[in-house]
């Protein structure tokens, strides 16, 4: 996909060296174009045919004298393993793996030798794939003869190299070959006449991938996707067709929207912010986002939402301002060409990609766009929590200005907690929270969906969930309490956790207060809680003490675990007055 409307402020000069096991002389022209579109003004130095070792090992080589910013070292699988491909019956497993190990070790050596002379330079290496039609076709996987393990083992060694060396970037040329298709990737005329392993189609797609990889190495360019709603996140127009008639779900093209949303969600897990800019009645659109059963994206997944009738350029400016981002961090996705034209004209810094009109094409259009506009080589912890961070930041900024005491702050949040027993709808999320909650998690016990489902229907256990909404919208299901029966009168708190999104808002107090009242109504007299320290849950260490539990002596051999008790016949946990609690009746049982 061409990134139409992409305008960079200035071009960054870039010196790139190309070394290869085959002819790559036709490649620089295409790569220069692609790099140019991404804001690099590239100059190339291309090593002579089969000069890889000489250039990388000779301290006086022309390569080192050139001081390139990036070395593109392309080694083709058919060159590296020419002997195995030429006579695949001659090598047993051990011999084959020895060859792979030797080639991988040589590459590692070459790179490390070159890095001594070029310490600042990025090294772009490539995965390999062998031709999908060989004399072993048929035998492969069915007999002891195989070639597939060559590329598998070699690529694994590459990955190890990249993960231990920051300057090494692996470009997945094998994936490009699969994407293009070998018959389009390989132009046998160019191979026999010029020793080029690539067709022009292959070079075009490779240019895109190499550019994305190098851009990623230089740092992320764009940070945020701005999305339209109608005919974008769902089919149809909510204001006209109504929420029930939208195309969204398992039926037909409705699945295209579900899968598109799923990929957006995955991008947000890569640290890319999702925002909405839609011309709609906010109530209509928000109702779909909050309660349509097939929505993959909910309000909590969006860092900023603009649903109104103002023009989109104005809304984009205000989104950028709210998130404290430059306009050049935004990518605007809209199915309406008129809106795209307006935005790219009014805000040339915003990236406005061409967009397919058929929703069936959305998913791969998005993945292609993400590869180019949001390239990433490594993922930081911060990427994973960025969306939540921005959301709370924005909220806090507004509230800070308006509140002075902590109580005022809690009050101003207008929190509403819905509390209910686990059912078929909530079991998956409850299990997920037990799996991934680390901070406010007093016992850090991990459960599968099946285990939670079993506990939910057991008469020996009680599984409660808590959903929190505040004036900024729903936070989703963020709390879990699991009680287990020890005896008629004594129950134990097996699990007590809150998502990190809502720590520090006294939600735990409201949750336990309600739960204690419930247990008391069931005739339970005593409640025991445990705190099992982990490297991450220090925030919850004094929880039971502050909720009014008394410490009880340690059973022998329980490590650092502390135990706490509450006498339900005489004590209760006072509920914070600033949280409204809404008990939810049971629905369908798991």
């Amino acid at each position: 996909m061409k990134l139409a409307g992409s305008q960079m402020h200035s071009s960054v000069p870039l010196r790139m060296a190309l070394l290869s096991s085959c002819t790559v002389q036709l490649f620089p022209e295409l790569l220069k174009q692609e790099l140019g579109a991404a804001g690099f003004d590239a100059e190339f130095w291309v090593a002579g045919f089969d000069q890889v070792r000489q250039q990388l090992l000779d301290p006086g080589s022309e390569l080192f004298a050139n001081r390139p910013d990036a070395v593109l070292l392309y080694l083709d699988g058919e060159d590296l393993f020419r002997d195995c491909l030429a006579n695949p019956f001659a090598f047993d497993d051990a011999a084959k793996l020895n060859i792979v190990a030797a080639r991988a070790a040589e590459l590692r050596q070459l790179v490390s030798a070159a890095r001594r002379h070029l310490p600042e330079t990025a090294f772009l290496l490539n995965t390999i794939a062998l031709p999908p039609l060989t004399p072993l076709t048929g035998l492969e996987y069915n007999s002891e003869y195989s070639l597939y393990d060559i590329s598998y083992e070699y690529n694994r060694a590459l990955s190890a190299l990249a993960r231990e060396t920051h300057a090494v970037i692996v470009v997945d040329a094998a994936a490009v070959m699969a994407w293009v298709g070998y018959r389009q990737w390989h132009d046998s005329r160019l191979w026999y006449l010029a020793r080029s392993r690539w067709s022009r189609a292959a070079m075009r797609e490779l240019a895109v991938r190499y550019t994305a990889a190098f851009a990623a190495w230089c740092g992320p360019a764009r940070k945020c996707i701005v999305l339209d709603l109608d005919h974008m996140l769902w089919g149809g127009i909510v204001g006209e067709d109504g929420a029930e008639s939208l195309q969204l779900g398992e039926e037909g093209v409705g699945l295209a929207f579900v899968e598109f949303q799923q990929e957006l969600l995955n991008l947000s897990r890569k640290g890319i912010l999702l925002t909405i800019c839609s011309k709609n009645n906010p109530d209509d659109a928000l109702a779909v986002i909050r309660s349509h059963p097939s929505m993959r994206l909910r309000e909590e997944n969006f860092a900023s939402i603009r649903i109104n009738w103002a023009d989109k350029a104005t809304n984009l400016r205000s989104i950028a301002e709210e998130l404290d981002l430059g306009l050049d961090s935004l990518v605007f996705i809209d199915d309406n060409p008129a809106e795209r034209a307006l935005v790219s004209q009014a805000l040339p810094q915003v990236l406005v990609p061409a967009w397919p009109s058929d929703p069936a094409e959305y998913k791969f259009a998005l993945l292609g766009l993400a590869m180019q506009a949001f390239p990433k080589l490594r993922l930081a912890e911060e990427d994973r929590s960025r969306a939540a961070m921005y959301r709370t930041q924005a909220a806090r900024r507004t509230l800070e200005a308006q509140t002075c005491t902590l109580e005022d702050y809690y009050g101003a949040l207008q929190m509403v907690a819905r509390i209910g027993r686990a059912d078929a709808f909530t079991v998956p999320r409850i299990a997920q929270l037990t799996q991934k909650t680390n901070q406010f998690n007093l016992t850090a016990r991990r459960y599968t969906e099946a285990e939670i489902a079993a506990l939910a229907v057991s008469s020996e256990a009680l599984v409660l969930w808590l959903e929190l909404a505040d004036r900024f919208g729903p936070n989703g299901l963020v709390g879990v309490l699991i009680f287990r029966k020890e005896s008629m009168a004594l129950w134990r708190i097996d699990t007590f956790l809150l998502s990190c999104r809502v720590i520090g808002r006294t939600v735990e107090r409201a949750f336990l207060s309600h739960a204690c009242a419930l247990l008391r109504s069931l005739g339970i007299a005593r409640l025991v809680g445990e705190y099992r320290p982990t490297p991450r849950n220090g925030v919850a260490a004094s929880q039971y003490a502050s909720l009014g539990f008394s410490a009880v002596p340690q059973p022998v051999g329980r490590g650092d675990t502390t135990c706490w008790e509450l006498d339900l016949t005489r004590q209760s946990v006072p509920a914070p007055e600033w949280i409204e609690i809404v008990p939810v009746a049971e629905t369908v049982h798991a």
Partner: protein, 77 residues
């Protein structure tokens, strides 16, 4: 008469003025028309005219006149 589209592709590839190009223009008379330049030219022509030459043709089509004849043969065939 030479196909103006072909002339334009040759001119662009080798930095020539379209007026300079005749059927006799060939790899020996144009310095930029080297082996890499030749492959680039052939690939450009294949894309523009939606044709595919055989490996033998790719080797032989080293003059503008020769290319034109090959293209005409494709159009007639």
């Amino acid at each position: 008469m030479l196909n103006p589209h072909l002339v334009e592709i040759v001119a662009r590839n080798f930095g020539l003025e379209p007026a300079q190009i005749t059927p006799a223009t060939n790899a020996d008379t144009v310095p930029q028309w080297d082996s890499v330049g030749h492959l680039k030219l052939i690939l450009d022509i294949e894309e523009s005219f939606a044709v595919r030459f055989s490996s033998a043709e790719v080797g032989e089509l080293t003059s503008v006149g020769g290319i034109q004849i090959a293209l005409q043969r494709r159009a007639e065939g």
